[in-house]
Amino acid sequence: MYQVSRRQALLAIGAFTLTIAGCGSDEPEQGKDLSPNKDGAMAKYGVGDQFKATAPLTFSILYLNHPNYPLKKDWLFWSELNKRTGVTLTPTLVPLSDYEQKRSLVIGAGDAPLIIPKTYPGQEVPFVASGTILPVSDHLDLMPHFKDKVAKWNLQADVDTLRQSDGRFYLLPGLHEEIWLDYSLAVRTDILEKLGLEVPKTWEELYTVLKAMKAEYPDLYPFSDRWGIPTPGGNLLNIVGQAYGAPGGWGYLPARWDATAGKFAFTGAMDQYRQMLVYLNKLVKEKLLDPESFTQTDDAAKQKFVSGKTFVTGTNAQTLVNDYRPPMEKLNPDAKIAKIPVPTGPLGEVKYGNRLENGIMISKKALESKNFVAMMQFIDWLWYSDQGEEFAKWGVEGVTSTKDASGEFKLAPDVDFIGLNPEGKKHLQKDFGFSNGVFAYGGTTKLLESTFSEEELAFQAVMKTRKARPVEPPRPFSDEEREQASLWETPLKDYVTQMTLKFILGDRDLGEWDAYVKELEAKNMTSYMNLVNGAYERFKKEHG
């Protein structure tokens, strides 16, 4: 029988988004009289208040069903949420595997639930022009906790990056108190000890360490990285690029803010980007870095690392304890590994990052609901109040967890979660529905770190001392510009990626850098940058 393939489906959705892009409505919503939409809402609701609907309410929600803790209707989370807020959520269940596709479909078909969570900053953009999602920035007055956190944590610049060309934003982002970095390198500390080496603090020190390892084990590549699919060098180009001031890989943005010049520069042509390539090329040339690092599967890199064929690889807190340690303990019990603080470079002790998490889109239909105000208050309480965030993460005091006087959380004796309490027979996520990725994220650093291990806390302590790079100013395109920009962006990005790998692997000499920049110009780099900087200037004038 005829099956619609994923690709066809995506094409169809893309085409549809383009078609409806033309017919967005622009009537201002600000100042709309909300008095008919106040059923169930609290008359007085402010920071620190517990939201409780004045009448039982039901809201539909798009629900990402995680296979590790599939939704159960008898979770304590649902009943307790109802008890505290008077709200019942009716989930439209979507498997995690294809969440984004279903989200596009139901929004495109006008069949979307009112609350659409698990949307990452940037993912809302294709829906903006269709007029099917709500410009939430018009209704922040209904959300005291959100506003409070933005003000208290000085997040305005971060939130401003979400603004579209009309000056509004359409996504309620998850908010972090501080930049939270997780990705770094895992290093075999037992090898360091054996060779009398220190944990490298900078990329140059890492180079020395790798050289020493190579001298001892000449047949091996000491460093082989993972996370090369689908973005080649996703993690490595990102963290090395950050040290130089031009992140690639996952962190690649076509344009980066250049504060001294007061305008945006094309990342792939920045001198900082070139310096990163020079460094990585040196590692590959001296056979310190496995050339497969940029494109191999995670499994391949993992196998090399746990079987002792390499000594350094990419990691985050989770892969360290899940992917590397268990097989190593079995196959190579003497091996010791650690996640080292991200090495630094010419920029010194800095960190790149964003304090916005995935967040919530709201269907425009919600505005017609007589419970609209109550819904916004409810979202504000569950996702943005300290109380709501603690409830979503740790559950009910005395049942799933306890909080002591100093604010430290502890699981109840019979409850387990991520190995914190291996004795516990019940599981915080699976059996109670808390610490659910749909509801629990962001919040205070204290709350975020309440589940961290000692070693991860030590890593975070080092990273916290680093100075955050300033947030880049917003530069939203208009609809027509976006269409033009994406026509230029894709070939430029593909070319940068291709040449990045060629330069690093030595297939192209770095002496040809100027020629490469000329080739980028031939691919409309300058026109693209004019578009970007034009959008920046316009936004600054109109909404700055």
Partner: protein
């Protein structure tokens, strides 16, 4: 005397043939055997890439874990029900349509063929389909899976060609003996068409068994998903990182061998059915092709 079977050229051909086909068999079988081996192996051996054809650290724990998840069996049952019902509907509808089209004297036959062919090349698109199924009230029911696409045009044409190949005289004789139109179809034509029907059953059943997209689109409850969606989600979950900064690995993490076990369990039924239907399968396709 040199016959075809003893000629030099033929023997060389056979040797080359054997080599190439053995290669094909190895390439086809290896991933399967590897999955089976992984399903019985211990996680650490899989992680370090030491499992190829033979399980290492043999254990059955994962089978027990997967089999103890009630949702797996619920979804498994759904797959069986969806496959059986959908195949039944498809076979009935395809047979009826194909039989009608095989009659040369049917008026408007060309138009009917054209209507079917049109859907082979053009479709309304994803969102219109979704809106249609939703407004018909089929969402969250088995009908959303078994009714749209019930007739596969390719299968329809194969069947039509097969029916056209049946001798007209047979049906004329039956008519003279007093059988009605439906009697002819049920008592004469269908018993003679076992081969092509078995083939169609196989085609339809395999594709419904493997399909996940329709269920993913139209079902909003995990109790209604087929096991393919369950499996897809499980595999996706194993590669998604959450709970960063955790103290230790969590038992809820779907491990590599949980995937293998689920894949094996999902494959078994269709694998068992296949050899029994296959003899029809080969002759059925050939019959339709040659006589058409």
């Amino acid at each position: 005397m040199v016959t075809l079977a003893t000629s030099r050229g033929y023997r060389i051909f056979q040797a080359v043939n054997a080599v190439i086909l053995t290669g094909v068999v190895v390439v086809t079988l290896y991933p399967f055997v590897n999955i089976v081996a992984r399903s019985f192996s211990e996680e650490s051996y899989i992680a370090s890439g030491q499992v190829n054809l033979i399980p290492r650290g043999f254990n059955l724990t994962t089978y027990q874990i997967v089999a103890s998840d009630p949702m797996f069996w619920t979804n498994y049952r759904n797959t069986v029900v969806y496959t059986v019902v959908a195949t039944l509907i498809s076979i009935v509808l395809t047979t009826c349509y194909a039989y009608v089209l095989s009659k040369k004297h049917l008026r408007g036959r060309k138009t009917l063929v054209a209507i079917a062919l049109f859907t082979m090349f053009f479709s309304g698109g994803l969102i219109p389909n979704y809106v249609l199924v939703t407004s018909l009230g089929l969402k969250d029911s088995i009908w959303a899976i078994v009714l749209p696409n019930a007739i596969n045009v390719f299968n329809l044409l194969v069947m039509k060609a097969f029916f056209e190949g049946l001798p007209v005289e047979l049906e004329e004789a039956a008519a003279i003996d007093g059988l009605s139109t439906y009697g002819i179809l049920l008592r004469i034509v269908l018993p003679l068409s076992k081969a092509v029907i078995a083939t169609m059953v196989l085609f339809y059943a395999v594709s419904y068994w493997n399909s996940w997209f329709a269920a993913f689109l139209y079902m909003n409850e995990s109790e209604l998903f087929p096991v393919t969606v369950y499996l897809r989600n499980l595999i996706a979950g194993a590669t998604t990182s959450e709970n960063a900064g955790a103290v230790a690995g969590d038992l809820t993490q779907a491990a590599a061998n949980i995937q293998s076990v689920t894949i094996v369990l999902t494959l078994i039924p269709i694998l068992v059915v296949y050899p029994f239907v296959q003899r029809f399968f080969v002759s059925g396709v050939m019959l339709g092709a040659v006589k058409g």
